[in-house]
């Protein structure tokens, strides 16, 4: 094991998959000569050349559509979107073409594409650059949605996504790229659709994924100082969702908080809450509590932005509500 940043782990996954399969190519804005807007593809153009690592024009609908068409013909495109905010321009190709081609063709066509890039807010980028989209993509049957929270998961799941026969949406985060974590030497692939217990505990389950995982773990540490022992469950993929790992944890702890950085209405947490209340109704002593971002476009001002985003403290408050503990 060695310590790698999230960025380095992703770069290794891309490097290994480009080396493994000639049909894999990486395309997106600034992925080549610039080494990636966030340097995730650093060195790959030099190593694999312009056939395999291609700088695209700023035409999200066009180059995502190119990837969908190339995948339909058997290639394995990895399409980088500079951020998922911009990928809204390409949503038609993802939701209407990639997600539906297999069904509409009665199984004759398939689309093994990966669309990846940063999701969610960084800092003070204001409303148009600070949005979480996992619920939006997970809504569409036909797509798989992967939101890793550690360098280890990121590498293993990105490699899985590249090898997966179905269209995969792979979501990273600008602020996570420099985060470090232990990653084993050599190749490994993680299963899509399997969650992971990131912290064991007995009093309350906290479900969190992606960047929010760290907020959940920090909240759990604060609670531990007060004698409250939380279990942090990371589903790692939103669709397919590992319902079993969540339900089993809640059946053990009897309480559930879902943490999500995005907006509260119609989000992933709403779906998880529905699953948990149906599967765990008999063991819950309080409703499932959802800790989310504020239901507003993201403000620019740092003074306001911090109010719009969940923090370890808001996790603490949520868990205390779930456990009927007075602050």
């Amino acid at each position: 094991m060695r310590e790698l940043t999230f960025r380095e782990a992703l770069n290794e996954a891309l490097d290994e998959e480009l080396a493994r399969d000639e049909n894999v190519f990486l395309m997106g804005e600034e992925v080549g000569a610039y080494n990636g807007a966030y340097k995730v593809s650093r060195g790959l153009l030099d190593k694999y050349g312009p056939k395999r690592v291609i700088d695209s024009p700023i035409s999200e609908l066009g180059f995502v559509g190119l990837g969908v068409g190339a995948a339909m013909m058997g290639l394995r495109p990895i399409i980088e979107v500079m951020t998922f905010n911009f990928a809204m321009l390409a949503l038609d190709q993802v939701a209407n073409t990639a997600a539906k081609m297999m069904y509409m063709s009665g199984g004759a066509l398939s689309c093994p594409i990966v669309i990846r890039g940063p999701n969610g807010a960084a800092h003070s980028l204001a409303a148009q650059h600070s949005q979480w989209f996992e619920a939006q993509y997970a809504y569409f049957p036909g797509l798989k949605v992967i939101v890793p929270g550690t360098p280890y998961d990121a590498k293993g799941l990105l490699k899985a996504a590249v090898r997966d026969p179905d269209p995969c949406i792979f979501m990273e985060s600008e602020t996570m790229y420099a985060w470090k974590g232990m990653v084993p030497e050599g190749e490994y692939v993680l299963p899509i659709g399997k969650g992971d217990i990131k912290r064991e505990g007995k009093d309350c389950t906290i479900v969190a994924w992606g960047r929010a995982l760290r907020i959940a773990l920090e909240g759990a540490e604060l609670l531990a100082k007060e004698g409250i022992d939380c279990e942090v469950v990371d589903p790692r993929t939103i669709r397919p969702l590992d319902e079993e790992i969540i339900v089993n944890s809640v059946r053990k702890t009897g309480a559930c908080v879902v943490l999500e950085e995005g907006w509260p209405y119609f989000n992933v947490g709403a779906q998880i809450s529905d699953i948990v209340q149906r599967a765990c109704f008999d063991v819950l002593d309080s409703p499932v509590i959802r800790v989310t971002g504020a239901d507003v476009p993201m403000p620019y001002s740092m003074a306001l932005e911090k109010l719009a985003r969940p923090s370890p403290e808001s996790v603490v408050a949520g868990v205390k509500v779930a456990l009927n503990v007075r602050s």
Binding site: G69, M102, S105, G106
Partner: protein, 340 residues
């Protein structure tokens, strides 16, 4: 369109069998579509149903300009193209009937017809969305070193979508082996092109991407074949994409629910004089390759073939309920696994 001297160097080399086969294809599409309209009225075909009557020369001319292993992709007015590629009419009609024996097992319907074995890749329902898809198909050919060309069809309304511009820019930039063919039937649903487009001669848009732009007479299968063939071979030679405007006309409404009151009777009657089927008949007879009776016999055979297709579709079973949850993922996940 400029009154250029119509010359048919390719067609003039075609023999009787080839020309009669071409004639048969035009007629098959016509008779298939006429009977589709009736089946729609009988409510055996549901949903949206966009007929190709009047435009047959485009699909057939394009087919004869391509190699059978070249790729074709089009929009939702796709019955003619899939028949021109050679898919038997039975499974096509069965698809429109929603039957298990349809080309997409009844999951696609009229707008989503595929036949991968004949390199027909649909059948897409969002205006212009197949253009980036075609870019990717051609990109894949270039990537793999295949000498196949992708031909992409779309209506004239699609050229006002960003997808058209984005895809043609990249197609030109990377010189992919693609031919983009606009079937200009002059109406985007009920809107005449002059009301929707600043540039009504679609082929001129090619200059924006510095690629060749050409027009062909989309009511003439032979002219379409000549012009498209040049573009296909240019693409195959690595010289990049071409934009072709096939000037055509649909004799019916946009879809079965459209009575097309936005066009005058006089206009439609005028265009009907350009009917592509008698035009090809005239060429064939001009070369003394077939008699009136022989052409009539082909029509009888085609009509019988369409009747047989309807019988096949009628007699075919509905999809099993278990089919509801298949083909969502190659690697099935919940809820497919749960419901399977």
């Amino acid at each position: 369109m400029a009154q250029r001297q119509r010359k048919y160097p390719l067609a003039d080399k075609m023999d009787r069998d080839a020309l009669l086969k071409m004639y048969r294809q035009l007629l098959l599409i016509r008779r298939f579509e006429e009977r589709s309209a009736q089946q729609y009225s009988l409510q055996k075909i549901a949903g949206f149903c966009h007929l190709y009557i009047g435009q047959e020369a485009v699909a057939v001319g394009v087919e004869w300009a391509m190699r059978p292993d070249d790729y074709l992709v089009t929009a939702y007015r796709d019955h003619g193209q899939v028949l021109a590629r050679g898919t038997p009419p039975g499974p096509v009609m069965a698809e429109m009937f929603g039957k298990a024996t349809g080309v997409a097992k009844g999951k696609g319907g009229s707008m989503h017809l595929y036949d991968v074995s004949r390199h027909m890749y649909g059948g897409w329902g969002i205006v212009g969305a197949q253009i980036p898809l075609a870019l990717g198909m051609a990109y894949a050919s270039k990537y793999k070193g295949e000498d196949r060309v992708t031909v992409c069809l779309f209506g004239e309304a699609a050229v006002n979508q960003g997808a058209f511009h984005e895809a043609l820019n990249m197609a030109a930039l990377w010189k992919v082996p693609a031919v983009f063919i606009c079937e200009n039937n002059r109406y985007g649903m009920g809107t005449p092109i002059a009301v929707s487009s600043a540039v009504t001669e679609v082929y001129r848009r090619a200059s924006a991407y510095d690629i060749p732009g050409e027009q062909c007479d989309g009511m003439d299968a032979l002219d379409t074949m000549e012009v498209v063939h040049r573009a296909v071979e240019r693409a195959r030679a690595g010289e990049g994409p071409t934009l072709i405007e096939a000037k055509t006309y649909r004799f019916r409404g946009h879809s079965m629910s459209d009575p097309a009151v936005y066009r005058t009777r006089e206009e439609v009657e005028r265009e009907r004089k350009n009917d592509p089927i008698p035009r090809l008949a005239k060429y064939i007879q001009g070369r003394k390759l077939a008699t009136e009776d022989e052409l009539e016999k082909i029509d009888q055979e085609v009509q019988a073939e369409v009747e047989e297709a309807i019988r096949f579709a009628d007699d075919s079973p509905w999809p099993e309920p278990s089919e509801l949850y298949t083909d969502v993922y190659v690697d099935p996940i919940w809820p497919e696994k749960v419901h399977a």
